[in-house]
Amino acid sequence: DAMVIQNPRYQVTQFGKPVTLSCSQTLNHNVMYWYQQKSSQAPKLLFHYYDKDFNNEADTPDNFQSRRPNTSFCFLDIRSPGLGDAAMYLCATSRVGRGTDTQYFGPGTRLTVL
């Protein structure tokens, strides 16, 4: 049973053309995260939502935005993708406050920028 779902799995966009990636979860977790991962590198946290509270990492470019309309869904908007934004984008969830803080990841969306 899929728990964290990401759509699409592969996304191709053109330089400067806005793109939205989506994430949904069936775990009813209170925290959702977006990571960017480039080849052979660590997942890099972009931002996270703790319930409805948005928390941006200090070094996340303004080009990246996020929305969480309800507990189950979270979106990553890239307003003007550059070539350097080509990467795997990972969504994760966790149930913070229950002592485990384990993160459950989706399969990722591979973004290609032409």
């Binding site: 660590a42 997942p43 803080d101 384990t102 993160q103 990841f105 989706g106 591979r110």
Partner: protein, 113 residues
């Protein structure tokens, strides 16, 4: 600044041997440490979590140790199998940061039959 180092990008071992992966960190006092497995083109999958007051955790063929004095965690896979081939990520967590974890770059393990 905080730094996480995982031993050599790639580790090759023979089937049946024990794989040992290392995670070292500096300028960090994690409350817990997690190990994840990541297969190519997929998201990481949680394997084990160990807290700062725990020395060792086991799960089936997996064992994790955590030495806060050395600032090091070791991850062992005993009786390794080709199916264990993957990239293994360590992640350090801090209870004050809403479950946020900082990930290492990972070690790619290849188990040869």
């Amino acid at each position: 600044s905080q730094k996480i180092e995982q031993n050599s990008e790639a580790l090759n071992i023979q089937e049946g041997k024990t794989a040992t992966l290392t995670c070292n960190y500096t300028n960090y006092s994690p409350a817990y440490l997690q190990w994840y497995r990541q297969d190519p083109g997929r998201g990481p999958v949680f394997l084990l979590l160990i807290r700062e007051n725990e020395k060792e955790k086991r799960k089936e063929r997996l064992k994790v140790t955590f030495d806060t004095t050395l600032k090091q965690s070791l991850f062992h896979i005993t009786a390794s199998q080709p199916a264990d081939s993957a990239t293994y990520l360590c992640a350090l967590g801090d209870n004050t940061n809403a479950g946020k974890s900082t990930f290492g770059d990972g070690t790619t393990l290849t188990v040869k039959p």
